[in-house]
């Protein structure tokens, strides 16, 4: 029972952390071009232009 007092808040906080990361990623436009991101890693000299949003 004592373990739960620690474990449940920890689990919830971790989950909330993930949720917060997802909120940030969506707002930041990380999901705009999923296939392109996989391709771009192959380009050597991507000029690092700003991402469209």
């Amino acid at each position: 029972m004592n373990g739960l007092v620690i474990l449940i808040p920890v689990a919830l906080l971790l989950g909330l952390g993930g949720l917060g990361a997802f909120f940030w990623a969506t707002r930041d436009g990380q999901f705009e071009d999923l296939d392109g991101a996989a391709m771009r890693i192959l380009n050597d000299e991507d000029p690092g232009t700003k991402r469209e949003d």
Binding site: F23, T26, D33, D35, G36, D46, P47, E52
Partner: protein, 706 residues
């Protein structure tokens, strides 16, 4: 393109979007972005590989045509993409994703706690877990439920009801009753059911927002293309610019070469040719001389002409077409989507069922508390998760499959309408026939090289077509000097001391005739354009016939040519059709109870595209055609039409099956709920089970377009 000064600090850049065909790999991305970045005047180019689009930030002086050419020079086909997805739709999708994430998070955590309760946690633990569930679920419902609450409230305020009313009532009641149970140490709290319900409903709502109509107003796009003023000549020879509305019939207007004509009129002086692609979708220039009519919105190509105004502003042919389109669109908006029809039946049934259950239990002496609990379990179990997902999931899956086959679905409702089609009307130009291609077989290699060098020096539509054909054949242009274009005549240049001219026969070779290539010491060679039926047009027509669909051609072109094409394909054909005639044909057919699919590309098809039950346009169509059409197909293959119809029909079948599954599940579960046997565990299992079934069934559509 002249040298463009580097962009001044703070100068506003324009942004253009292009749909690009032929993007396949990482190399294509780099090639396109770097290639465009090197074009003078372009500040930045960014490819979105997922949507196959490139966003270009450039100086306002660069127009869409120049950028399209620049992309073509890099080896890709591009079409200007009018950003039709309004900011509001995008924002809505995004806020739904966030609501979905919150609901998913809450559902997972509450479900973990619930599993512990179901496996027999004792009183104290159960009370604590219930309180924890409430702590997670209540804020989540308040945040993620907003789309439903807002929509239900809007409906109720206007004295109506919609699907969101029973959903909202169910959510609020469930949360309230569960909270009461928790506070009084009761056995059953439905927090898990409530958040899971919310999660599934949001999945459906999000998919639906992905499929929401992205159609921008085609009429606005059309009017934007007509110049707002024109240069009016006074009696005394003075000239002044006047707004189009202030130009009265009879006034003389001077139109410079390369300028878009602002009024309808009649040529009184000068001879030139006009690009009527805005109106007809055909990019071949039409020669005009004294006495010939010209239309507002077309481009005067060769030489300045003076025209006498016959109509201006709202009286022009283009404005007429815009009005027709506006009216035509209204008939389509009367279509009621399948999901909405289901909702109309659904809400009253569910409400009365829950109310009856409550009344039944209360009258038979079960007590207020238990009666409310049972009624709430009925509301939860009947909540339309599976129904809410059934339609959008099928449409999302099938549009993904069609997208891979080169067909873009702009609106989910269009798929539903497309499934009902039994008649197809084809506009001839660009959809049935291949592009007009120059006949170059008689030219030797040297002549081809010279022709390419000359043709690519001009922006005249015919030259561009010739240059395109030759480049595609892999011809390398000859090295020439003194290449110059004589407006209205053609292009001339010198190649290894040999003078060559490509243009009007009278200017190039001093003989009457069409367009020729003339080189010193040789007889001029005529460059003719021919129009042929696409090889797969016949196959497409045959497939349509086997699907029980009538096809026929309606075209604005000469009757003889259209009928010849109709004979070649074995279908009926009508020529010389005005926009109003096409509209009339569609209205007659629809009046007879037929469902018409219009396939066309030009502005003259605009009203017809808007009035038909469903419409398709090739990606090469005019802006107006693309904005008005429900589906756009890339490439110019007519086989896309039967493919799309077959996919739409299949989708309709899957949607029907999904409805049957969802209703069948309710028929099983509702009696249990009414009888009071449904515990939170059963509700959770039933809900997720039926939703998974529906999603799995819809995923079968993934293979449809192959």
């Amino acid at each position: 393109m002249n040298a463009v000064a580097p962009p001044a600090e703070g100068e506003a850049l324009s942004t253009s979007l292009f749909a690009v065909e032929g993007l396949r790999c990482a190399g294509c991305i780099a090639k396109l972005e770097h290639g465009l970045g090197a074009v003078p005047g372009v500040a930045m180019a960014r490819v979105n590989f997922t949507t196959r689009r490139v966003r270009v930030e450039h100086e306002p002086a660069l127009d869409d045509d120049a950028l399209t050419d620049a992309i073509a020079a890099l080896g890709f086909d591009a079409h200007p993409y009018v950003e039709a997805v309004s900011g509001a739709v995008k924002r809505e999708s995004r806020s739904l994703v966030l609501a979905l994430a919150v609901a998913g998070f809450a559902a997972m955590n509450v479900m973990l706690l619930s599993v512990a309760i179901w496996s027999g946690a004792d009183t104290a633990t159960r009370a604590m877990f219930h309180w924890l569930s409430a702590l997670i679920a209540l804020p989540a419902i308040a945040y993620s439920g907003r789309p439903f609450f807002a929509s239900a409230w809007r409906a109720l305020r206007r004295g109506r009801t919609n699907m969101d009313v029973p959903i909202s009532i169910g959510l609020v009641l469930t949360a309230g009753v569960s909270l009461y149970e928790t506070a009084t140490g009761g056995e059953h709290a439905y927090f898990d059911g409530a958040v899971m319900l919310l999660f599934f409903l949001l999945v459906g709502r999000f998919l639906d927002s992905v499929m929401r109509s992205r159609a921008e107003d085609g009429v606005t796009a059309l009017i934007r293309r007509v110049p707002a003023d024109a240069l009016v000549l006074g009696k005394d020879g003075t000239a002044e610019r006047r707004a189009a509305d202030e130009i009265a019939p009879g006034m003389r207007v001077l139109v410079a070469a390369g300028e878009r004509i602002g009024v309808d009129g009649e040529v009184i002086e000068g001879a030139s040719s006009v690009d009527r692609s805005l109106v007809t979708g055909e990019s071949d220039p039409v020669a005009i001389g004294e006495g010939d009519p010209v239309l507002a919105g077309t481009i005067n190509l060769d030489q300045p002409i003076t025209i006498r105004t016959t109509a201006s502003g709202a009286a022009t042919v283009v404005a007429d077409i815009a009005r027709l389109m506006e009216n035509a669109g209204q008939s389509r908006s009367r279509y009621v989507r399948i999901a909405d029809r289901a909702a109309r039946l659904y809400a009253p049934v569910v409400h009365s069922l829950a109310a009856l259950t409550f009344a039944g239990w209360f009258i038979s002496g079960a007590g207020l508390h238990q009666s409310v609990l049972v009624a709430v379990s009925v509301l939860i179990i009947t909540c339309p998760c599976a129904i809410g997902i059934a339609v959008p999931i099928a449409q999302v899956v099938v549009s993904g499959a069609l997208m891979r086959a080169g067909i873009l679905v702009k609106d989910g409702a269009a798929l539903e309408r497309l499934a009902t089609i039994d008649t197809v009307l084809l506009d001839k130009t660009g959809t049935v026939t291949a592009r007009e291609a120059p006949v170059l077989a008689t030219l030797d290699a040297q002549a081809r090289a010279i022709l390419l060098a000359l043709a690519r020096a001009s922006r005249h539509p015919l030259s561009r077509r010739v240059a395109e054909t030759l480049s595609r054949e892999g011809v390398i242009a000859a090295e020439g000097v003194c290449i110059r274009e004589e407006t209205g005549c053609g292009v001339a240049g010198s190649f290894d001391g040999v003078e060559a001219r490509f243009g009007k026969a009278r200017w190039a070779a001093g003989v009457p005739g069409g367009t020729v290539l003339a080189t010193d010491g040789r007889s001029p060679v005529a460059i003719d354009m021919v129009e042929t039926a696409h090889a797969d047009s016949a196959a497409a027509v045959a497939r349509l016939r086997s699907m029980g669909i009538d096809a026929s051609i309606v075209s604005g072109d000469e009757t003889v040519a259209v009928e010849r094409l109709g004979d070649a394909l074995g279908i009926s054909a009508r020529g010389r059709m005005q926009p109003t005639d096409k509209l009339a044909v569609i209205e007659t057919l629809e009046g007879e109870g037929r469902r018409v699919l219009m396939v066309g590309d030009g502005l003259n098809d605009g009203p017809a595209l808007g009035a038909a039950t469903a419409s398709m346009a090739p990606a090469s169509a005019t802006d107006v055609g693309k904005l008005t059409a429900d589906l756009i197909f890339f490439g110019e293959r007519l086989t896309s039409v039967p493919t799309a119809i077959a996919a739409a029909r299949r989708t309709r079948r899957i949607v029907q099956q999904n409805f049957a599954l969802a209703v069948g599940y309710n028929l099983l579960a509702v009696p249990l709920a009414v009888a009071g046997f449904v515990t939170p565990l059963i509700a959770a299992l039933a809900m997720s089970g039926s939703s998974l079934l529906v999603v799995g069934n819809a995923l079968r559509l993934n293979r449809i377009a192959r």
